[in-house]
Symmetry: none
Subunit: 357 residues, 2 copies
DNA sequence: CCGCCTGATGACAACGTTATCACACATTCT
DNA sequence: AGAATGTGTGATAACGTTGTCATCAGGCGG
């Protein structure tokens, strides 16, 4: 399979074999040796190694190695949410193991914060990411939400881009997403299957598909959500704590609570631990499945988003676009999976006190 | 441009640089060294030499050739719709050009016809496709609708499968689809942009996302569809003809008509040709973009489904599943594109009579 | 005869990367 | 304390090819 092999077969040097087989003109060697070598080459069906040849000659490689940039954006209230960091980590891993190299990694809030989205500010940032003179990377993967304006500015600079997000679609770029509504429904359905009828919601109530999912799931189960059981808050740990304190103060609190994301539930559970004397220990379910969900007390039952697959698909979509496999805007939708741990109990059964030390 | 260069810049060995830059896990080196190296790499815009890498690692680069089966199903009323045949043709082409082998190609109605979906009948068909002793292909691509029961039986026999469809999701398997509702909205929006306010619908009105899309688009444009302008029919050529005859008989017919698919529009246009004496020549738009849409008179304006990309993605999804790239059910959604030909005119302007010879 | 050219050949060093080994050093266990 | 384990490194050897050089034989003119 190599020049060396042929050299051994014929008893001549590697140099001679290489010379004979690579020179198109039949002028470079003794006729007798040449025949011996070409015969041997034919016999073992010799195919020159393109990589080695390219390496030596410095020519273009057969398979290009792509350089991919990453932009991680989050709104200011999402700063504490580890979900994005986990995605980022997995994405870098995926890039490397797919033979790509990680270019610039930006971590910015300005692109997703509405209040900062004045065009000039955004233009400045887009220029910062892609200065006129700098050589481009081959593509950009955006994690998190980006305002429409910012997206258009970015798209003007870099047309190979794909975004990964918890949910919601922007319809402007290739995108990997999870149907937030479906996720919420799965969560609520699980609570009802456990017998819960008074099911609360904690999280953002505006422009949040998980909230609408909660509503439809309640409706489908013929339950009408008590207005007092809906706690509208920014999705962070403090919000969870506040929600717990609020619910515990109610005369008729929900027995099951769906938190729009894990970090809310983490806050809620920690508050529950501190308040265990009150005896109010509702079942809690959320969605995302961040790392810490395995280490709460009780361990958090949640709808797990397939983070590994999300970054996998994002790269797949991006590479396909770079290579010209598709041209129209495309979306990949993945599904969440219910991961049952400890934080949900049958209705009427309190969570075990020993969890809350 | 090489590891050596970076090694010189940072003062560490080539080995360390290589290890840091190619190891997917962040765990292989001192954090300080790692930062120094990655920074230097970024600075000189390092791109690994693919040839060298392939040379070193890719000595064993034999790519498996997969054998893929195809199942084309259609309901009895869809038999005349060439959309599926075009998908099939493109899919076979895509398979071949991707180095796959086309296995069995079945063309069956039984799997999608509800009335035939008795379990024993379906079990028999699933057995026919996959007899117990026959060696499996590597995967199956389904074009068209399949009843849920049939899908489950098939899935039991062949777990690598993906389905391609006009719209609607089954949530059971990997799937490539087009949002029917969005397509209908694009079509209706185009008609309103041309000034039409009396917009009719021709097609299936039950369980058809294109119909709901028509309705929401009308609502969004503050138009209330006249009940007389909605023609409920099976989506075939006869239905289009019948619709035309029906609309022409109305005192106040729609000036623009959205047909749920091209084959309806083809029928409608042919009827319009024969009836031109009546002088009723509405704008007509539909969706799918089958081949014949280019050859009607007038040429059909339609929302084109990216058929090539659909089959491309179907194979991509299937191969990724076969190779273990993802495990949860995933969906790829593609978008239709408005293709403006001749069949839509400004409101108030009749279609040119010369089109209808 | 010597020196010079020519043509054929082999030895060897690159190309840039990754894999293997060995070493130094820190940590833990017996 | 000493041994066993684990960590971060660097030196080095491949991978298959091509380019550079040295060698060697033979032929030529001087």
């Amino acid at each position: 399979m190599s020049l060396k092999k042929i050299a051994q077969m014929t008893g001549v040097s590697v140099s001679t074999v290489g010379r004979i087989l690579s020179d198109p003109n039949h002028k470079c060697a003794n006729e007798e040796v040449r025949k011996k070598v070409t015969d041997a080459a034919r016999e073992i069906n010799y195919i020159p190694n393109a990589s080695a040849r390219a390496l030596k000659t410095g020519a273009k490689s057969e398979e290009k190695i792509y350089r991919i940039d990453i932009l991680l954006t989050r709104a200011s209230h999402e700063m504490s949410d580890p979900f994005y960091d986990e995605l980022l980590m997995l994405l870098e891993k995926e890039l490397r193991s797919s033979g790509c190299i990680v270019g610039n990694v930006w971590h910015k809030a300005e692109f997703s914060d509405e209040k900062l989205s004045r065009t000039d500010r955004l233009g400045g940032l887009a220029d910062e990411l892609y200065p006129a003179d700098m050589p481009h990377s081959d593509g950009l993967i955006i994690i998190g939400k980006v305002t429409l304006k910012a997206l258009k500015l970015l798209k003007a600079k870099e047309k190979n881009l794909v975004s990964i997000n918890r949910n919601s679609t922007n319809c402007e770029t290739d995108e990997v997403l999870c149907d937030g509504s479906r996720i919420a429904r799965t969560a609520v359905n699980y609570l009802t299957k456990l017998g819960h009828t008074k099911i609360g919601y904690v999280g953002d109530c505006h422009n949040e598909s998980r909230f609408t999912g909660y509503q439809t799931a309640m409706m489908n189960n013929r339950l009408t959500p008590d207005i007092d059981h809906i706690f509208d808050t920014l999705p962070n740990e403090e919000g969870g704590i506040a929600a717990m304190e609020y619910f515990a103060s109610l005369d008729d609190p929900p027995t099951g609570i769906y938190c729009a994301n894990d970090i809310l539930a983490v806050g809620l559970l920690s508050a529950m631990g501190r308040r265990r004397s009150r005896g109010y220990m509702p079942s809690v379910i959320s969605s995302d499945d961040i790392e810490t969900a395995q280490y709460t007390k009780p361990m958090l039952t949640t709808i797990s988003l397939p983070k590994t697959e999300m970054v996998h698909f994002a790269l797949m979509l991006l590479l396909d676009r770079i290579r010209g496999g598709h041209r129209t805007v495309s979306r990949i939708e993945v599904e969440g999976t219910l991961v049952i741990r400890e934080s949900c109990r049958q209705a009427g059964v309190l969570n075990e006190p020993e969890y809350y030390i």
